[in-house]
Symmetry: C2
Subunit: 275 residues, 2 copies
């Protein structure tokens, strides 16, 4: 990241007693900036607020946070902003101060628009498992070692993403994406009751599907379900929607339902998936 605000002040460092560093005691959001605007800002702030409540963290002052986001992004065409909220500084030990003084970090990085991968991306399976714990499921916490180790499984730049399963061999997500498959006209996505992140673009896809009369089901999905699917696509807040060219070397078909969702997202401002 190029530019940071820490509790509203420009900075490039954080105190060594911060619980974000010691315990991953906090949450984050990664937001696409397009033409000076933080896309789906309301949904990001909503998820952040809900996450804070679940972690017993004070919800940041949202108008203040929003004005900081605008301050960083309003003159920028294409960028990624990251928001990190930690429980702030504290004495050693897991017990946190109550009240605490959260640390609010906002960072900006300018990025280059990427062409939409029309023929789809190559995806693999990861051996690193994602663990199950309903208490943290859906949250974008700072505890992300599983994703880090899963992403370390490949170096081939031709492979865009790796899919992660839990100990029951249920596919949960990609390292940085949510997963959808189409079977007999129904859109399925892994249930996030035990693991995974409730992605902002995933929420958009579900809304867009409803708008288009497409049934969506959250389900337990195996590798078999994926390999026998009619269509598969991945989503996140920055990429929008990617279809797959191959999964674990197997060719994946491009399909009509993915195309409908893609076009609907594009019309909602997700320019990454406008070819």
């Amino acid at each position: 990241m190029e530019r940071w605000l820490v509790n509203g002040a420009s900075g490039d460092s954080i105190g060594l007693n911060d619980r974000g560093l010691h315990y991953g005691d906090g949450l984050f959001e990664t937001i696409a900036v397009r033409n000076g605007t933080c896309r789906f800002i309301g949904a990001h702030l909503q998820r952040l607020s809900e996450g804070c409540a679940r972690l017993k963290l004070p919800v940041p002052d949202l108008p203040v946070l929003e004005s900081e986001l605008q301050q960083l992004s309003r003159t920028v065409d294409h960028a990624t902003v990251k928001v990190i909220v930690t429980r702030g500084a504290g004495p050693r030990g897991y017990r946190f101060p109550d009240p605490c003084m959260p640390t609010r970090i906002v960072g900006l990085e300018q990025t280059e628009p990427q062409p939409y991968p029309e023929s789809g991306v190559q995806v693999r399976y990861c051996a690193t498992r994602i663990s199950r714990n309903p208490q943290f499921a859906g949250l974008k916490t700072l505890n992300r070692l599983e994703q880090v180790m899963a992403r370390a499984e490949w170096n081939d730049p031709g492979i865009a993403e790796g899919l992660m399963s839990n100990d029951r061999d249920e596919i949960i997500c990609g390292t940085m994406t949510n997963v959808f498959l189409v079977s007999r006209g129904i859109l399925y996505t892994p249930s996030l009751l035990e693991s995974g992140v409730s992605g902002i673009m995933r929420q958009q896809v579900i809304a867009v599907a409803a708008d288009n009369g497409i049934e969506v089901q959250e389900a337990s999905l195996s590798q078999y379900a994926l390999s026998s699917a009619d269509e598969i696509f991945l989503t996140n807040a920055l990429i929008g929607l990617w279809t797959l060219s191959t999964l674990a070397g197997q060719k994946i078909r491009q399909g009509k339902l993915s195309e409908t969702i893609r076009a609907a997202l594009a019309s909602r401002g997700v320019v990454e998936c406008a070819p």
Copy 2:
């Protein structure tokens, strides 16, 4: 913490691009300083090295780290030092730079000796579950939100520790301790193949038990196993060994085997458990 060294230099902050903050991408050690010496330093550095290998992190230069630890602690009677090793700075995203430049943080906090709690401590059960993932089991990673939320379940200063179970109702550990129970003369402790931290004092207890002809078994232990145990004790690197006065309100007996282990630890320099 009062005094920090970051990669050998005095400091009180860390760069905002550090992966320790973003992902909990790193490990830590908490070490007791007694009379100017870092206790069980060899075991701590060994565990740190093994953890680095498992996370594909370069092992820190151990003689350098050891000299930093000595620099902070040699004139100090009673303190806690914390070592944090992160994967260092990197661009946004789970993928880490290879090679990376790890961040090596050493912090010192002077502490007061605490009297040994001869009649035992009060312990409760936590509702927060500890998740299972063999890839990270035994490691003291910076991903510690489960312990944070478990410790947030009580405020009563009379309660010293809370025990955590996995989704199979197996007791794994306390929020900051390892657990042992005695039944019919055998010492049992939870298996750490799926969760938990391989504690330095736990290793000492296992060694001391062998020295004293006491059989030790790693096992799956339920709440029932604990409530029907002859003796129970908790360990960590800072407290040494605590017996229990009550567990979830039920009185726990003090016993002879715990006393043998306690005395043997005390004779190995664990002054906290010398009454």
